[in-house]
């Protein structure tokens, strides 16, 4: 093993470089604190949270959380998502409420949970979960950033049951085909198609 020898000049460079690096990091921390984490965190992410392995002997229903990392500064009167799944091995049973609220009164900012439209029969028939929320008041009952819970941004929960054809070790992917949090100004919408919304797909892994 050869010995590394640092010359006095190199030692000086290392000290200066380290100093600059520390300053840059300090500057970033300052900016982070001053500007706010949301802007620096970048594109919102819609995620299907992958659960622990599900036992193939499990016959009860189970749920997967769908979370949103953040929302923009505008309101979103509509939202939808399309998620493909293997309906021969999973039975989709519907959605359960999450923790992401919508306004229910424009003036008092009362909040309520959105009523998602979904048709499980159709989803199992097509192998695609299509879910939509539409505020027909034109924005009065919309999603907005201030209604997001601090640490629990569960938009909704997908409810499944394993079919008998599921075998231990099988993996069922849950893949976002499309998702959008729609604003009346489409340039402000968060959409997969425009890259303004990122997605993280989920999966269900069958265990013993």
């Amino acid at each position: 093993m050869s010995k590394v020898i640092i010359s006095p000049e190199n030692k000086k460079k290392i000290i200066i470089g380290t100093g600059i690096g520390v300053l840059v990091i300090a500057l970033l921390i300052t900016v982070f604190l001053l500007v706010g984490k949301d802007k620096l965190m970048g594109t919102p992410v819609l995620t299907i949270e992958t659960p622990q392995k599900i036992s193939v002997s499990e016959t009860d229903e189970f749920t997967l959380d769908v979370t949103i990392s953040s929302l923009g500064e505008v309101i979103y009167p509509a939202a939808s998502m399309s998620i493909s799944f293997d309906s021969s091995r999973l039975e989709f049973l519907g959605v359960e409420e999450g923790n992401v609220f919508i306004r229910s009164d424009e003036n008092e900012v009362q909040q309520t949970l959105p009523e998602w439209s979904v048709n499980p029969d159709q989803c199992n028939k097509t192998g695609k979960i299509n879910i939509m929320y539409l505020d027909t008041t034109g924005g009065k009952n919309a999603f907005s950033k201030e209604l997001l819970a601090e640490d629990d941004n569960v938009v909704l929960r997908l409810k499944f049951r394993l079919r008998g054809s599921m075998r231990s070790g099988d993996v069922c992917d849950l893949i976002f085909e499309d998702a959008v949090f729609a604003s009346s100004d489409e340039t402000q919408s968060l959409a997969m198609t425009t890259g303004t919304l990122k997605v993280k797909n989920g999966k269900i892994v069958a265990g013993e």
Binding site: S80, N119, Q122, T126, M132, L134, T136, A182, S184, T193
Partner: protein, 948 residues
């Protein structure tokens, strides 16, 4: 034996009473009478002038000449054994009933055909002259080719609509003075006219005629009365202006303010030619005598007065649609009652918010049937829904008729017959409200009544209740001030009876009173303040009478119209209206909503709010569950290419998911030259699977659909009908040019059980119209169908229509351009409709004036090699994905948060294929996304047979 006789008698009475004496309302008939003396109309006993006064013919007929000892004056002109109604009866009636005289004081020579008044009648001292329908009456029975004999009162036969002008003069010189005789107003051809019409600010040319009959020489002359003074004003005798006729008797009149005005002239002196020497009057005064009769006519000045003519009617559709949406969302299941019931249904139906076949209305009707059966049985009063309140029936009839339901057959009851069978006393238990709403209900669908007089009894009762100020109120004292709401309801109820002179006069005054009552806010008073309800009813009444409440000068005060005022009560955050102030109120919202519906219908040229002549009452037959109809949609042409395919779609016009249907089967007759490539079930059909087989020998395609494994009920998703059930893909194996291939459904049934002995086990579907013919053509051919035409209400202009053109004989998707010399359009290729029909189909939004035949004419189309632009219904932003952004776009477009859509946007937004873009389209996009439902516009394109 007595009992048997009595039973027989009672049976006969019951049978007779059960025979419906149904008939339509009998309208009164009138004759018109003017009476003048020395050139001025005389007054009746109430000091009102007897000038063109309508008198019921029926009342004249009842004057029995024999009771007056005038048996010899009875006149049977046509020898049919029936005596005619004559002017003598009219004069007797007028003398006693109008003038207030006693016939016994009249000195009358009762000589048939030569009768003569020697004095006493109407206080006159001399004989009478007659002018009948603008001419001197002739006694045909006494006249010959050589001699014309004037008719005396006993020989002037009166008929409905006749006008008799009676004149008397102090001086007898009218008989020979060339200026003597009658005057009358006439049109430019010299024909007698009593009612002129002109628009405010426009000039009307009127002719004043003079008719002179020279009794000395037996000659009659009619000519324009030159240089004669004509007066006009709102009240006879109170001139607002004077005009002088020209040398031909013409006078031009221009009135700037709308309203009812009168024209008149007085009788004039005779010529001072010394022929009056025998006249005592002349001798005493030294002045010529009056020798001619006055004339009179009404002139209705319509439209707007000049200062407000620039005001354009405002568009209230955004507020109206928001209000209707709120009502529909709030009142999800309307039921019998004032609140959340009939008024909401009425507003949404007349506002055309839902189709008549929408479940909102059909479910309401089903609830109503139950309520009526229970309530009417409980009340047990000939279909009455309340012992004292006839308005319970009226309100329900108004709502049911608005959704195309016949109120004479609701469950087990006839709601209309309650009026006739319970009579006017039951109706009047609610005072004026009862009679008003009875008329509105009866006339909504022109319902027949077993008592043919019931309408007129209501009209007479309403007229009797009129207040001295010209309006009406629920207070019986006529000297009390009238109430705007009740007056406006009355005006609305009386509109169908406006041909009755008393009604016309009363309503004209009431409209003036209403104008006078309007406040500086544009609203109308209620007590010491004003309410939105009063304003709402003013708008309903005015639009019913053809008066624009937003632009008519009579109803603009301080620059504010009635419509302006009503909109001030709109509470935007609630999408409702306030009664007063800013607090939303359900009843105020109901009334404001139908007032805006009324106004919107008026400005769009539709029938009035309570005029349901636009409602199809035949629809009820089509939506009765148990008699479904099938249809077969397919293109009208295919090419002669071997192997060409097209689709035939089987649809049904109704489905009851609660009925428990287990199986559908049908037989489709397939002609030689076609084979079946596939049969698929629609996504809307749930639970089962489809099987089929084409029997080659007979050409019969048998299709069956059921759940073979679990025997679940078959259901159809969605609410729109017709609903597509199956798509049959047909292949032209050996079709040749000019072949006509007829495909039809030979039979179809829906089965509930397997028990064939049960009469209720099966529903036979009406397939009588489920068929069509496909023509085989060479090369490219075109067929077209109109998908919808805009109605100008919600974002689709009325001059636009969507057209789908199916092009047979093309495999590629090239650009298709239409150009007929006047219009040019690039059509968009529709993958969805093409897949549905099996034929390449393009759509475009075009000018609605273009005849559909132009879209099947080859020479109007050009294909170019470029790829055609495509249209994807529901993909409003064209990003290739249908999602929440598109649904939101439909909502925002309807809310007018975005610019009015361009043609392509309209095509992609209007997914339900009606005449408007609204929240239904947004919901259509949601349903497509979530349920996989097919857009109605696509179904429509495929299920309508295209035509050449």
């Amino acid at each position: 034996m007595k009992k048997k006789v009595l039973s027989l008698f009672l049976a006969i009475v019951m049978i007779i009473s059960a025979i419906p004496l149904t008939s339509i309302a009998v309208e009164k008939e009138y004759v018109y009478l003017s009476i003048s003396f020395d050139g001025r109309y005389i007054n009746d006993k109430n000091n009102n002038p007897i000038v063109y006064l309508p008198i019921e013919l029926d009342k004249i007929e009842k004057v029995d000449l024999t009771e007056y000892g005038l048996d010899n004056m009875l006149y049977d002109a046509d020898g049919d054994g029936e005596y005619e109604t004559t002017a003598l009866q009219l004069l007797i009636y007028a003398h006693e009933e109008l003038y207030g005289g006693d016939w016994g004081d009249v000195n009358f020579d009762a000589l048939p055909g030569s009768s003569y008044f020697k004095g006493g009648i109407f206080g006159f001292t001399e004989n009478l002259m007659y002018f009948h329908n603008g001419d001197f009456p002739v006694d045909e029975s006494q006249s010959s080719d050589y001699m014309t004999v004037g008719a005396t009162s006993d020989r002037i036969v009166l008929e409905a609509g006749d006008f008799l002008d009676v004149a008397s003069f102090e001086c007898f010189s009218f008989l020979w003075d060339s200026l003597g005789g009658f005057h009358f107003f006439a049109d430019e051809k010299g024909n007698l006219v009593h009612d002129f019409e002109v628009q405010a600010g426009k000039t009307k040319s009127v002719k004043l005629m003079h008719s002179f009959c020279d009794l000395m020489f037996g000659e009659a002359y009619i000519y324009g009365a030159a240089d004669y003074e004509v007066y006009y004003g709102k009240t006879y005798g109170k001139a607002e202006g004077t005009l002088t006729t020209d040398g031909d008797g013409n006078v031009d009149i221009t009135i700037s303010k709308p309203g009812t005005y009168y024209l008149w002239c007085y009788g004039a002196n005779g010529s001072d030619d010394g022929t009056h020497s025998s006249c005592d009057y002349l001798l005493e005064t030294g002045a010529p005598c009056i020798v001619s009769a006055p004339a009179y006519a009404k002139i209705t000045v319509g439209g707007e007065d000049e200062p407000s003519s620039s005001r354009q009617p405002q568009d209230v559709s955004a507020v109206l649609n928001a209000t209707m949406a709120q009502l529909a969302n709030t009142v999800k299941a309307p039921a019998f009652g004032t609140n959340a019931g009939e008024w909401t249904v009425f507003s949404l139906a007349r506002g055309e918010y839902f189709d008549k076949s929408n479940a909102y209305f059909t479910d309401y009707y089903n609830r109503i049937v139950e309520t009526v059966n229970t309530t009417a049985s409980s009340i047990n009063l000939n279909g009455a829904l309340d012992k004292n309140k006839s308005t319970e029936n009226s309100r329900l009839i108004v709502a049911l008729s608005a959704i195309g339901k016949d109120a004479t057959s609701v469950g087990n009851w006839n709601l209309v017959d309650a009026y006739s069978k319970n009579g006017i006393n039951w109706i009047k238990k609610q005072g004026l409200n009862g009679t008003i709403w009875t008329l509105i209900a009866l006339d909504s669908n022109n319902y027949s009544t077993s008592d043919s007089t019931i309408r007129q009894q209501c009209v007479d009762s309403i007229l009797d209740a009129r207040h001295d100020d010209g309006g009406w109120s629920l207070v019986t004292s006529k000297t009390q001030p009238s109430n705007v709401d009740i007056t406006c309801m009355t005006l609305t109820a009386l509109y169908p009876y406006r041909n009755q002179p008393e009604v016309a006069a009363a309503c004209a005054e009431a409209i003036e009173w209403l104008s006078d009552s309007q406040l500086a806010t544009g609203g109308f008073p209620y007590g010491s303040g004003e309410t939105s309800e009063s304003c709402a009813w003013a708008i309903v009444a005015l639009t019913t009478w053809g008066i624009n409440p937003d632009t008519d000068a009579r109803f603009i005060k301080n620059g504010k119209s009635a419509v302006d005022n009503l909109l001030t009560y709109y509470v935007e955050k609630d999408r409702m209206f306030a009664h007063q102030g800013t607090e939303s109120n359900a009843m105020a919202t109901d009334q404001a909503c139908y007032a805006l519906v009324s106004y919107n219908r008026f400005v769009n040229g539709k029938t009035a709010l309570f005029d349901y002549s636009d409602v199809s009452f035949g629809e009820k037959e089509e939506i009765v569950i148990g008699k479904p109809k099938a249809s077969l949609g397919m293109p009208s042409e295919i090419t002669d290419d071997s192997g060409a395919t097209f689709n035939a779609t089987v649809s049904i016009d109704q489905w009851d998911n609660a009925a428990g249907y287990k199986l559908i089967d049908l037989i489709v007759n397939i002609p030689d030259g076609l084979s079946v490539a596939s049969v698929t079930a629609s996504d809307r059909l749930k639970s089962g699977s489809v099987s089929y087989n084409l029997e080659a020998e007979t050409g019969k395609l048998r299709i069956v659909y059921f759940d073979a494994n679990n025997h679940n009920n078959i259901t159809v998703s969605g609410n729109s009908f017709p609903a597509e059930l199956f798509t049959i893909t047909l292949k032209a194996d050996s079709a040749k040019e000019n072949d006509r291939l007829s495909v039809n459904i030979g039979g179809m049934s829906i089965k509930l059980t397997s028990d064939s002995s049960d009469d209720n086990s099966m529903i036979v579907v009406d397939t009588s119209k489920a068929g069509g013919t496909v023509n085989v053509v060479k090369g490219i051919s075109y067929s077209a169908v109109c998908l919808y035409t805009g109605d100008g209400v919600d974002l689709i202009p009325s001059e636009k229509k969507a057209v789908a053109v199916a092009v047979a004989g093309v495999d590629n998707v090239n650009k298709l351009t239409y150009s007929d010399g006047a219009f040019t359009y690039e059509f968009r290729y529709s993958k969805e409709i093409s897949a549905k029909t099996g034929v390449s189909t393009y759509v475009a939004l075009v000018n609605s004036s273009i005849d559909m035949t132009k879209f099947v004419d080859k020479k109007n189309f050009t294909f170019t090699q470029e790829k055609a632009a495509e249209i994807t219904f529901g993909d409003t932003n064209g990003d290739g994905v249908i999602n929440a952004q598109d649904a939101l776009s439909a909502v925002d477009t309807w809310l007018r948060k975005t610019d009015a859509p361009e043609d392509d946007e309209i095509l992609s937004l209007n997914v339900n294929g009606d005449s408007r873009i609204n929240t239904f389209d947004a919901l259509g996009i949601v349903e497509k996304f979530v349920d996989g439902s097919e857009y109605i516009v696509v179904t429509k394109a495929a299920t309508l047979n295209t035509s050449k």
